[in-house]
């Protein structure tokens, strides 16, 4: 578990990059929220969902129940494996891995990300009258696509983050590698000896 917690993948750095500019989160995301609220005549934060009553695994450090349900739903729609040789996403602790990835973040940025995740979930109320976690598969996928390909930079950035965290939470798990023939660490497995230090130049 400790090992998993320490696995902060390269693409997560990229995924989190858009959130590292605090001004983006302070102004951009809230601008999106503001527009949404205006359009909806009120922003229904955390409209109840049937998922809210589902159990949440123990051991999450940063993600709360609402975030767990959000990433569980994202895992279902972004990581389909039916009919493929890939490891079913349900067999991978994707959300636990994501929780571990958040360790690498500056605490202030992490808190802003968590706020952004709630926004992502709830903004669907404006357009679909449901939270994202309750959208049917096709609508949910289209919703994510709308964020990822948005011309509104902060919206695109958050869409980018949620997809990359979900993808990385799956692919950073070494259980997924044999199915795509990725070798992972090899030196110890192959018994390659260390050359040690180079002797002093002559």
């Amino acid at each position: 578990m400790t090992q998993n917690k320490n696995k902060a993948a390269s693409d997560v750095s990229a995924a989190l990059a858009p959130l590292s500019r605090r001004s983006v989160l302070k102004t951009g995301l809230w601008a999106v929220a503001g527009v949404s609220a205006l359009a909806a005549g009120g922003f229904a934060l955390l409209r109840p969902s049937p998922r809210d009553s589902l159990p949440v695994p123990a051991g999450l450090v940063h993600l709360e129940a609402q975030h767990y349900h959000l990433f569980s739903r994202l895992t279902e729609i972004l990581l389909p494996t039916d009919g493929t040789a890939l490891l079913p996403a349900a067999q991978v602790p994707v959300v636990n891995h994501i929780d571990g990835l958040l360790d690498a973040l500056d605490p202030a940025i992490r808190q802003q990300l968590l706020t952004g995740l709630a926004l992502f979930d709830n903004a669907a109320v404006v357009t679909h009258f449901k939270r994202f976690v309750d959208l049917p598969d096709a609508d949910a996928l289209a919703y994510v696509g709308d964020w990822v390909n948005s011309g509104v930079m902060p919206k695109r950035a958050l869409g980018f983050v949620v997809t990359k965290l979900t993808h990385t939470g799956y692919w950073m798990d070494s259980q997924t590698w044999p199915m795509v023939e990725f070798d992972g660490p090899v030196s110890r497995r192959w018994g390659i000896p260390s050359r040690g230090n180079q002797p002093l130049p002559g």
Binding site: K7, A8, A9, V24, T168, E181, F182, D183, S187, Q198
Partner: protein, 515 residues
Amino acid sequence: MAEIIAASHGLVVTQAKDISQSSLALEADVVVIGSGAGGAVAAYELAKAGKSVIVLEAGPYVPSSEFTEDFSQAIVQLYEDKGTQTNADGDLMVLQGRCVGGSTVVNGCVAFRTPDYILDDWQKQYGLTNLTVDALEPYFARVEANLGIHVNPEHEINRNSAVLREGAKKLGISWKPFQRNIRECALTGHCLSGCATDRKQSMLVTYLPWATAHGARIYADTKVTQILAENGKATGVLAEVTDPKTGVKKADVSVKAKLVVLAAGAVQTPLLLQKSKLANSSGQVGKNFACHPSTFVVGQYEEDIHPWRGAMLGIYVDEWAHPSKGGYILEGGGAGAVELSAVTQPGLGEDFMDYMANLKKLAGIVTLIHDHNVGEISWDDDKKKIDYRVAEADYPAMKAAIASAVKLHFASGAKKVYLPTVVHAVVENPAEADAKVAAIELGLQSLRMVSYHPQGTCRMGSDAATSVCTPYGETHDVKNLFITDASLFPTSIIVNPQVTVYTLASYIADYIVQN
């Protein structure tokens, strides 16, 4: 006189765990800030010349026996800000090593000499008339010999690079095998996670153990907080030792030294000078940041490539390297599963999983451009700020580099090419390549960009009004304060910078000894 022998494995490093007192007062001829390319070389050359040397490294000491070959772990273990360092806009990752050995521990071993036309430009534009090709030749030769730099033999060109080589031949464009600083490469493909078997000739297994053999003392977990100067001369530094596991300060450190060598990297070096309020009469400290913003263009092939197997970097295309021809290069670069899941947007759901299911059939090209020095490093309250946006003047080079990479992929046999964009963009056939690349709207959050090459923030020059350092690396304002990292570069150099840093550090160390 006893023969001087470097340790066969590992380094003698004083770490936070070794320190029990709350303050340390040290003294040496030279204190070196940073243990990467610039710091390690300076430390060795000066220690060899008989100087007492102390090296202070902010990052931890991680022996190669602890390297995991899992990039998602390595980035937390070995990289600045656990791999989350970005520009202020958040659309460019700035990757630097943060450990004993610095970025040399985690780089891809690519070893270019500084291009002649770059040195010519530095002479003409910045008065660096001492840095001629002829003057630097012995220094290039020295570091190349010391670091086992050699042209990749055929077995060090992996399938990823081999297919691209065939494409380059078909297109009739110039390509070359890389030169790399590695001995007996084990072909694991894990360069960016540190070389677990010490094949890469990083500072961890070369200049640092050599420096300690000559008496240099290395302190890890020790971040310099201020450079001290009196009457226009450097006199030492103040630092803090912090437990890397808890983040709790363990000790204050002062080092009294006749000479300070600053080599903390092109982000930290100007920050430290700004904090110390030194060497900035020109107002140039932190300005002129460049970084070779790069993208990773992925092609999908019919055949199995397994881009993570073999030497990570095999060949490069230099057809458009000269600024008059575009100012960019393409590098055949392998990558692992997690990295490949991040470098493009092949679609969502089934589209993405189909892309990943074909992982072994993917090949990668890294694009590097000769960017303008338009960025700035500064403090934003108590946090660093990397203000850098790709200049509009560099948009043509960015697009040309991506367009050339797409063409190279198709010439090499790719069936489709994934663009390095944030939004969904796939080129399905050669006929639509130009239009798809032209349609990329460059600007904030448009490309998936990474920089491995920060540079330029304390540039050298003969004019004290427009540069921070003299042509010999000493700051114009503060005597006995030298800089030996990539901050010195007056312009970006197009190619991977490690050999340029080693060479300048060697040159400057010789200058120090002789003067």
